[in-house]
């Protein structure tokens, strides 16, 4: 029991030291006038039970960027988004949103800070009407009636298909329309940071293009966007920079175009030749 106790105490001390170092570096950066990134992840470890899924993750996303988070199934992409959105808390490490430490905040608080998470296929409430779905999105605006009404108007203009179905249950909408609904709701709150997890899951390619155009627009209007993607092609068409996650570790961080040249990294993607080099 003593041994167990000392082990956990030692671990706690290590964590505290790391925390202090991290805060110091951050302070330094601020002092030298560096721009505050939209998202910073430092030394992140994540466990599901006893199972470690993310190993010492470090990444930064600047404000206004659109980056892609690539990787195969089981790599840890969704887990990372869960940690950032506050649904689960990491075991070790710091997550900063626009400079503020958000590691242990609840999703409700993080949403209030201007972060929105869109999970492909699960963001609409099929039992509620389209209007109600949008009303939920306006939660952060609920204090200001005028602004929320205006935001609703704008959303309707941007998505005429939804306008026609305002009072129908969201479950009757097609998959693409439901994603549009989710996007519309997100847009209403004008988030500063938008995390999208597999937007195109199960959708026809044409619908996907429409959605992608909308995401591009959102980014152009100033929202930082992080896109979790399986498809390298789609990532190229949207994001200039990307991260490649594999088995809980970041293997690549840089311009998306460069990623294509990295045979050794795109292990799950075979490229016709150089097969023996893969392993």
């Amino acid at each position: 029991m003593l041994i167990l106790g000392s082990h956990s105490v030692r671990r706690d001390i290590t964590l505290v030291i790391e925390d202090v170092i991290e805060r110091y570096t951050e302070g330094k950066r601020r002092q030298t006038g560096g721009k505050i990134p939209a998202l910073q992840v430092h030394n992140l470890d994540f466990y599901y039970g006893t199972n470690q899924v993310l190993f010492d993750l470090n990444l930064e996303v600047e404000e206004g960027e659109m980056v892609a988070l690539l990787g195969t199934n089981g790599a840890g992409k969704s887990t990372l988004l869960r940690a950032v959105s506050g649904l689960s808390h990491p075991h070790r490490g710091v997550i900063r949103l626009f400079g503020a430490n958000a590691t242990y905040l609840e999703p409700e608080q993080i949403i209030a800070e201007g972060v929105a998470l869109l999970v492909g296929g699960k963001m609409t409430f099929s039992g509620l009407t389209v209007r109600d779905n949008l009303r939920i999105g306006g939660h952060t605006l609920r204090r200001d009636r005028a602004r929320s009404a205006q935001a609703l108007e704008e959303a309707m203009d941007a998505f005429p298909a939804l306008k026609a179905r305002l009072d129908q249950p969201a479950g009757t909408l097609s998959g693409g329309e439901q994603q549009m609904l989710a996007l519309a709701r997100v847009m209403m709150t004008r988030p500063r940071l938008l995390l999208i997890d597999e937007l195109a899951l199960g959708l026809a390619p044409m619908t996907v293009d429409d959605l992608m155009a909308m995401v591009r627009r959102i980014n152009e209007e100033g929202t930082t966007v992080i896109l979790v993607e399986q498809s390298v092609n789609r990532a190229i068409s949207l994001a200039d920079r990307c991260f490649f996650l594999e088995r809980g570790e970041i293997r690549f961080d840089g311009p998306t175009v460069e990623l294509l040249a990295r045979d050794d990294l795109l292990r799950p993607v075979f490229l016709g030749t150089a097969a023996s080099g893969l392993r």
Binding site: G74, S174, G176, P205, R247, L278
Partner: protein
């Protein structure tokens, strides 16, 4: 149950024109392939390509809308999952969280229980044949635990093990089930790098020892190419390429499928994909695919 159940040794799996729809989306569309007895067939494709759903239909968890699944020629349409298990179709699960509260020993003993059923009354009264059956099961389980190096985890609950170890337990239970057709669903997903590399020799050994046909769904493509005698590539519910690894590797459609919905894939798939806007409805509600 005569037919596939009474034979032993690896079975032949024939999948013909398999199709199923979830909420308006064709999750699996006209899929056909064959797994020869003793072969290892790899099923690859991006998320949403329908690989796991196909596996579900072979194991009986999902009922197909069209098409047939045959084991050694017998149509399996009326076989429930537990019945398929009895005729030799064994399936591993993607998130191997099998039974969190049971220990490794318990789970392996359960596999043995299924093979040798002992009546409750006999167990309660600890009649001699019940005792003998139990010790025989114990012996078989001990052997497997030793073979897979699970000795130190014998009494740990599966909830406390790492994903890699849980997968090994899953494989161990598979050996005990003496499968004729083995369905493996992403055995290396979520496993840390070092453990994943140990999997190829493990799976090879499994294949030798179990003497069974294997159908493997995986994301780790090099692993699939290394291991499998035949590879099936799926995209958006359809088979895009099928054949020995070398052939598939050179197929441009397969490449495109893996990079994700390229233009080629769209035009190649014809009118269905280019249908009216909003043709696909709510995504499949099964986890993942």
């Amino acid at each position: 149950m005569s037919g596939p159940g009474s034979r032993s040794g690896p079975a032949r799996l024939t999948v013909e024109n398999l199709g199923v729809t979830f909420g308006g989306v064709r999750a699996v569309d006209n899929v056909s392939f064959t797994a020869e007895p003793g072969a290892i067939v790899g099923l690859i494709g991006a998320n949403g390509s329908g690989k796991t759903t196909t596996l579900d239909m072979v194991s009986g968890l999902v009922a197909p809308r069209q098409g047939t699944v045959r084991l050694d020629g017998t149509d399996l349409v009326d076989y429930l999952p537990e019945e398929r298990e009895r005729i030799g179709i064994v399936r591993s699960f993607q998130d191997c969280r099998l039974f969190p509260e049971l220990s490794v020993l318990d789970i392996l003993m359960l596999c043995e229980d299924v093979k040798r059923e002992v009546a409750v009354v006999s167990t309660t009264l600890q009649l001699p044949w019940a005792r003998r059956a139990e010790s025989r099961k114990r012996a078989a389980v001990d052997e497997v635990i030793g073979a897979f190096g699970l000795e130190r985890f014998r009494h740990h609950r599966t909830a406390e093990l790492s994903t890699g170890t849980r997968r090994v337990v899953d494989l161990a239970s598979i050996i005990l089930a003496a499968p004729r057709l083995l369905l493996l669903d992403e055995p290396t997903a979520g496993i840390a790098q070092r453990e994943a590399e140990a999997f190829i020799p493990l799976l090879r050994r499994l294949h030798e020892v179990a003497d069974t046909t294997i159908v493997l769904v995986e994301h780790d493509v090099p692993l699939v190419f290394e291991l499998c005698s035949s590879v099936v590539v799926m995209e958006l519910g359809r088979v895009v390429a099928d054949g020995p690894p070398d052939v598939v590797r050179a197929d441009p459609r397969a490449l495109a499928a893996y990079l994700g919905a390229s233009d080629e894939a769209i035009f190649a798939s014809g009118p269905t994909a280019a249908g009216p806007k909003g043709v696909s409805a709510t995504g499949p509600d099964v986890d993942g695919e």
